[in-house]
Symmetry: C2
Subunit: 655 residues, 2 copies
């Protein structure tokens, strides 16, 4: 139950368990998850010293409780705290809720019932079994090797997997897909002759109520099954998938289902057979249906061999163009998993218009906790404010539903940022992104600053330090605005990309400008940006419902932070902020570095309040962040000064 030795306890340090550990606890009920709860309580009590409080905590199952399968009711009165749930998972989530509340769990308060807003809260691990010599083992992973796979097979050291499951459950996550959506040869076989390795992992994850999913190749009937086709309407293919699903459930009774990346970036898909993506998803959905399983079908389909000379093709349009017309055609147990933005996890993107266009399809929204384009866990970049903005966006305007509400059919998914690193996430402060993702999946309208507070209290136990307030305010200063800071010193005003090709770390203003990936900024000596208006551009803006189709249509109405995503404007264009585009670029790049320097300075002042190893690691990473931030500043500013010829109004040094 404790992390393996040397592994960080993240948001479940022993100090966070004292509130429970020091009290008398009664647990009523049976079953595996109740056993897990009992073990948690025993561990907490074993580490808390003698029982001191006189309050009781009661965890009880009540089949009649109106909590749903994962919710719980919390009552606090007369010195007794009671968690009631209709099902064991609810008791476990209630336990972690009490941990989060700390001392507040033991003061009288009105009864509250907590239910997750989204029933599917899944991490996708882009983990491979094999280690690629350049990409490493985890695609876009910045936290060491895989937590699940080691030396070519499922990790023998299961304690680590269980410790991970515990952390995930403690922030509300209830599903994990254990292999990369790009399914390579070795990994394809997890579906068939290597399913027992998946089952072993699933056993550990299941102890904390997590369901296991598997990424599968659409071509599996050919590659693994020896068929001459993967045509989803072919009966042999249908039979093959059914057998494969039966096989999976025979080994893993609580198996969740499959994740599929098809017809995308070289992965096989239904297009090869002239079939639609609904056809493709449905044949797999049908195979899973008898077992209650779900297929997560990714909507990340676009032309990745685009000609940069062709300005009529717009990658941003692709998800809508491919999937909007298929609305209503997917089976009930098929979920369309859509990236939150139309491109690829840039530091700033508009919300994908396809999310609001699928009223008859179960939609899951996909976030990226791993910081591929946001500093690769060498930069501090707390993503909760970005995600909160996405989840609160209302695709049909003020009176419509939020993205968080629209995702209730499919859930919220995040690409994991965790790996075999002792701090789980490489950068110790990147743990917050994992935590915040789980909490937002449970409650999409949670306040990100409140989540930061929660995480800070749990992880750093300020009350146990010499100066709780200094620690709290320091951590707040370092993390709260870190996403905006990162945005300031990287690609401006929603234009995106401008990274080094391939690994995506560090500046490369023209890095993707003449590439086949559909990711351009079109900067010339006069201006910059992509015209995606209906009137004169690619028409992408018209994929939105009103009011957004109008808001985004003109430079005048478009929000500053997305201006260059939607419009090509002269460097002298005046933003709503009152600044010209070029001066905004210069100013934000100088400011971003200054803010990062200030954050580094704040971190230094916390040395006496943070565990030395953790403090040192973050301090070391700040050195790299600052080096990189200065490189971003200077390359971006030099690029635009050389191109525009317009000097910085502030007269600062640009090379």
């Amino acid at each position: 139950m404790t992390g393996p030795s040397g592994i960080d306890h993240a948001w479940l340090p022993d100090a966070a368990l004292r509130g429970i550990g020091s009290r008398r606890v009664t647990i009523e009920g049976d079953g595996p998850l109740v056993d897990t709860l009992r073990a948690e309580v025993a561990y907490a009590q074993g580490n808390a010293g003698a029982l001191q409080g006189d309050a009781d905590i009661v965890f009880r199952l009540d089949g009649d409780a109106d909590t749903g399968p994962e919710g719980f009711t919390l009552t606090r009165s007369g010195g007794r705290t009671t968690v009631t749930a209709a099902a064991p998972a609810g008791l476990l989530y209630g336990f972690f809720h009490v941990v989060r509340l700390g001392a507040a769990a033991f003061t009288d308060a009105p009864e509250q019932t907590h239910r997750p807003a989204l029933s599917r809260r899944m991490l996708n691990h882009w983990d491979n079994i094999d280690v690629h010599p350049v990409m490493g083992q985890v695609e876009r992973g910045y936290a060491g090797g895989s937590l699940f796979w080691e030396d070519g097979r499922a990790r023998g050291d299961r304690d680590r997997v269980r410790a991970y499951a515990r952390l995930l459950a403690a922030c509300g996550i209830n599903a994990v897909c254990v292999n990369n959506v790009n399914v390579h040869g070795t990994e394809a076989r997890l579906l068939t002759d290597r399913i027992s390795e998946v089952a072993a992992i699933a056993g550990e994850l299941g102890e904390y109520g997590l369901r296991t999913f598997l990424s599968v190749s659409f071509a599996a009937p050919v590659v693994l099954g020896g068929l001459d086709t993967a045509d989803p309407l072919d009966d042999r293919v249908r039979d093959w998938w059914r057998t494969a699903a039966d096989h999976a459930y025979a080994h893993i009774p609580d198996f969740g289902g499959f994740v599929v990346k098809a017809d995308s970036e070289g992965q096989p898909g239904p297009f090869a057979y002239g079939r639609s993506h609904a056809d493709g998803a449905n044949v797999i959905a049908d195979a899973l249906a008898p077992h209650g399983g779900t297929v997560h079908w990714r909507a990340f389909v676009y032309n990745h061999v685009q000609d940069w000379r062709d300005r009529t093709t717009d990658r941003a349009r692709a998800a809508y163009d491919h999937f909007a017309a298929l609305d209503g055609q997917f089976k009930d147990n098929a979920v369309l998993q859509v990236k939150h933005g139309p491109m690829d996890f840039q530091v700033r993107e508009p919300v994908s218009p396809v999310i609001g266009a699928l009223s008859r399809t179960r939609v899951a929204v996909e976030l990226q906790a791993t910081q591929e384009y946001t500093g690769q866990q060498r930069h501090v970049c707390a993503l909760a404010p970005m995600w909160s903005g996405v989840l609160g966006f209302r695709p049909e305007g003020e009176d419509g539903a939020t993205v968080g509400q629209l995702a209730d059919g499919g859930g919220l998914v995040a690409v994991s940022n965790a790996g075999a690193d002792p701090y789980w996430t490489g950068h110790p402060l990147a743990q917050f992104n994992l935590y915040a993702y789980g909490r937002l999946a449970w409650q999409p309208d949670a306040d990100p600053q409140q989540l930061l507070h929660e995480w800070t209290e749990l992880t750093f136990s300020p009350e146990e330090t010499a100066d709780p307030e200094r620690l709290r305010s320091g951590l707040r200063a370092v993390l709260r605005g870190s996403w905006e800071t990162y945005e300031k010193y990287t690609a401006p005003l929603g234009v995106g990309f401008m990274v080094q090709p391939g690994h995506h770390y560090g500046p490369g203003v023209d890095g993707y400008e003449y590439s086949p990936w559909g990711t351009y900024h079109f900067a010339d000596r006069d201006g910059i940006g992509v015209d995606r208006s209906r009137a004169t551009g690619t028409g992408y803006a018209a994929q939105y419902a009103k009011p957004w189709s109008q808001t985004y249509e003109t430079p005048e109405s478009c929000p500053d932070e997305l201006l260059l995503f939607f419009h090509h404007v002269p460097y002298g264009h005046v933003l709503h902020s009152g600044k010209t585009v070029i001066q905004h670029i210069y100013d934000t790049h100088f400011e971003g570095v200054e803010e990062a320097e200030a954050a580094q300075g704040v971190w230094a002042t916390l040395a006496d309040l943070v565990a030395p190893a953790r403090h040192a690691r973050v301090a070391e990473l700040y050195e790299e962040q600052l080096r990189s931030a200065r490189e971003w500043r200077d390359q971006v500013n030099s690029y635009f000064l050389r191109k525009s010829g317009i000097p910085d109004a502030g007269g600062r040094r640009i090379y």
Copy 2:
């Protein structure tokens, strides 16, 4: 003696041997190289059918002949052709000379004596024993794996090595360094416990008079010897190198010596001990001296972690700045091996000023046959005209010596373009670069067009085809101007680089613009180029003697083709050609593609005159060359149109 099955005969097809094979041949003399000669003649006769001619050919050793160790005298009179040499190597070179002459070897002519102008004519193979997952086995190799190393050890199939040696001897090459100048861990051990593998290769190479060299690590006394220092002035280090040299010569009596890349791109060197490069070279030279061996010490030393913001540092200056002051300090058996240009084998560079600045040092000039920056053996790019220009350059002006003459102390070296590919060089037409290098090393003032003619006659046997003149003129059209064509569609006017980082293939105008490698073009909206003048720039131009220091000093006197190497000028600057810089960029990029298209068309017309497999391979490579050339054209033109805003006077399509 023949190539292993499936391996191309290159410039020694059976047809080329008929002139000798069909005649009576007398060979007088003994020794290994004479045995090789006898075997060559026997092979030629075995493949020529019955003896037909009535002329004799006589090969004779005459210790008194004034031919030097490798030269020969050719007499042709009265129907008898006689090759006389003072040493066996001369007879072998004479044999290949007779092959080259073809029928002309058997017509009466005045006596001629041929001696190589340069005594060292070496190929450097950047071959590793191990295969790197990204770089492959041969660094910057485009012709398959290594000819020498396979499956982690010296190749078992020695026939191939011997066939290679034969081709090299037939164009005049007399030395081969068999491993990469970047000496990795495995390869370091070739010097010590794996020397017998080198000896096995040397045995095959020696059959054709080729001496074997080995690249060694300057840190070998530490890495292999277990010493705590590699300080060249430390007696233990001195002893270690002496023992290592003794060991090498014990295994390889005709061993050539060592090649060392020190203090360069991460390789260790004497700077770490506060010693000069003369100190470093001399300790190794001293170890080799008792055996008559030579150390080739590379002058490729520069700061590869430069800050792009720093305009005062100029990589082009580095070789001169490091080595000019050391002139006269190197031992007699130390050769300073200098790249022909100051940067790194770009399609156009000035001749390195350090070559003319070392009157008391043995200098070897290093060329690059492998087409790292010139199309990677997917583009046709015949380099002989470039090399001829380098070798004919006179660093001290009209009355001074040529580079070819200045290299007489150290020789001419080329990085090999050959590998395990069946055509030896990947692109079949790249064989010409290997051939031309050898011939220019023997005779630096040879006419490159004459060499092309020689190579064409040998390799394609036009007289045996249905239309000799069409084949000759077709090959001439395809190859003769191919270097200029490649230059036209790539980086303009000597500015260099503008390639994709890392692999260096394909356009990346800003690919190295903000990198640490010291390779910048400084293009902005107003102009482009690097100011290397003495008056206002980095002072590099002043490293030349007169008249070049003056010629290069001003844009007015600088040759057009080097203008942007030496000067930063506005896009509207008018070249000596009468065109502006920007119009020159547009025009050459359109022309370059048109010329490549025309060459492709010419090649297509030769289908009936060239062996089908060879023809098809070249035709297939032309597809890639044209795709790539158009990408170059469009990216470069778009980049400069966007930056300059100046339209093409020709009104052609720029994206």
